[in-house]
C-alpha cells in the first residue's frame, strides 16, 4: 500500500478539522494525501493565532511551506514562501504564531509526530536541514533541468534535492498562455499544490487555486494548458524523467514497459545486468559510496518495503 491516486482534489472546498493530537493542539488541518501503510502524509495546517509549541522533534522527516501569515521559530520569523526540510530527530526551536499562519506540512516517513526536546536525537541526519524563503531568496530557473524538457514558460525553483533518490521539492510556475502538447508520465510519484492559478490537463480538466494531486508513477497526465498563470509547490519521491508521447489510451503497465524499453536502449549494460543475469537484490545492490543506503527510510518506502520499529 502507498498513497492512493488523489487527482484532482480541491482543498478549498473542504473544512478544516481540529488537530486533536499532542503537539498539534491549537491548529486545524486538512489531509491532502496519506500513505495507508505508514501514515506518511501531506497536510494543509492552519496554525491559529496564539498557537505555540515547545522545542521538539519528529520521528519522521518533515517538510513545511508557509502559504499565508507567519510563524516564529526560535528567533527567526518564517513568512509566506518559507520552506523547511527538517530531518527526522532534529529538534526545532519553540514555535509561536501570534497572528495565524497556514502551511503545507509533510511527514515523509510516518504519521505526524512530536516529542518535546531541545536536543537533536543522536541519530539525526541534521546535514539534511534546509531553511530558505523560496519567494525572496531564490531566482526562477528554466524548467529544462530535465531532458526531455517541459516547454518554455514553465520555470522552477529547486528547494531540495535528495542525492540518493534524486527526489525533488520545488516551486514551479506556468506563464500565462502556457501550452505543452504532449502526454507525460514518470517513474516517480509526483505531488503538486496550486498556491495560485488554474491549469488544465487532458485527463483531469482544470486544477484551480487550492488544487492538489498525488499521482503514483506511470500515470498519464497532460497535454497541458494554463490561461492566466499558475504558481505551485511540487515534489517527486525519486528521479523525474519525462516520458512524452501522444497515446491518450495507454495504461500504467504499458507505460512502464515503454520505460523499460527506454532503459534497454539507453543503458544497455545496466539493463542486461538487471534483467538477464538473474541478480536478485530485493533491498538493492551494494553501493561502495553509499554503503548504508538500503536502510534509508525514503529508499525503503519507494520500494514498498515498510518498516517496523526496533522496540
Amino acid at each position: 500500500m502507498a498513497r492512493p491516486h488523489i487527482e484532482p482534489f480541491v482543498e478549498l472546498n473542504e473544512d478544516f478539522k481540529k488537530f486533536q493530537v499532542s503537539g498539534f493542539r491549537g491548529s486545524h488541518y486538512k489531509t491532502l494525501s496519506l500513505d495507508l501503510a505508514t501514515g506518511a502524509c501531506t497536510l494543509k495546517v492552519r496554525f491559529d493565532g496564539g498557537f505555540s509549541r515547545k522545542p521538539g522533534l519528529s520521528y519522521s522527516d518533515m517538510e513545511l511551506f508557509v502559504l499565508t501569515g507567519s510563524m516564529k521559530v526560535g528567533k527567526e520569523v518564517y513568512r509566506e514562501g518559507h520552506y523547511l526540510h527538517v530531518p527526522a530527530g532534529m529538534a526545532i526551536k519553540a514555535i509561536d504564531v501570534p497572528d495565524g499562519c497556514e502551511a503545507l506540512v509533510m511527514y515523509n516517513d510516518s504519521e505526524p509526530s512530536f516529542e518535546e526536546s531541545d536536543k537533536n536525537h543522536q541519530l539525526a541526519l541534521k546535514e539534511g536541514y534546509v531553511s530558505v524563503n523560496a519567494y525572496a531568496d531564490m531566482p526562477w530557473a528554466p524548467g529544462n533541468v530535465v531532458q526531455p524538457s517541459v516547454a518554455s514558460g514553465c520555470l522552477l525553483k529547486l528547494l531540495r534535492y535528495d542525492p540518493l533518490s534524486e527526489a525533488m521539492t520545488f516551486l514551479y510556475t506556468l506563464s500565462p498562455e502556457f501550452e505543452q502538447n504532449n502526454i507525460s508520465y514518470h517513474d516517480c510519484a509526483e505531488e503538486s499544490y496550486h498556491i495560485w492559478g488554474t491549469s488544465w490537463m487532458l485527463q483531469f480538466g482544470d486544477l484551480p487555486t487550492g488544487g492538489y494531486f498525488w499521482r503514483p508513477p506511470y500515470i498519464n497526465h497532460g497535454s497541458f494548458r494554463c490561461k492566466k498563470g499558475t504558481i505551485a509547490f511540487g515534489r517527486t519521491d525519486s528521479k523525474l524523467h519525462n516520458y512524452f508521447h501522444f497515446n491518450p489510451w495507454s495504461n500504467p503497465d504499458e507505460n512502464m514497459l515503454r520505460a523499460a524499453a527506454h532503459l534497454y536502449r539507453q543503458r544497455p549494460q545496466m539493463f542486461q545486468w538487471v534483467a538477464t543475469e538473474g541478480h536478485n537484490h530485493p533491498h538493492g545492490p551494494m553501493d561502495f559510496e553509499h554503503k548504508d543506503y538500503q536502510s534509508d527510510r525514503h529508499i525503503l518506502d519507494i520500494h514498498g518495503h515498510h518498516h517496523h520499529h526496533d522496540d
Partner: protein, 88 residues
Amino acid sequence: MTSRVQDKAPPRSEEMQQWVDENIAEQVTRYEAIVKEMEELEPERVQWYREFLETVQTSGFNVNGDVRRKIPDEELPIEPDRKHKVIF
C-alpha cells in the same frame, strides 16, 4: 543495516492511532469519489482527446521543450477495446 531515527519511534499513541484510522478511511472515501467524478468527466474527455490528436497533427507534438513534430495519420494511436481509466 544502519539504525535510523525513524526506527526508534515510540509506538503510536491511542489518539494517534485513532487519527491515522480516521484519515485512512477518509482517503479511501475520497479516492472512490475521485474515481466517480473522473468517470463522469469521460464524455468531455472524449472530445478533449479528439482535439489533442488534431493538435498534434496540426500544431505538432512537443518532443522536447519547444521542439515540435507534426504527427502523420499513420502514427496516430488507435483506441483499445477496453474500459478507459485515468485514476489508478
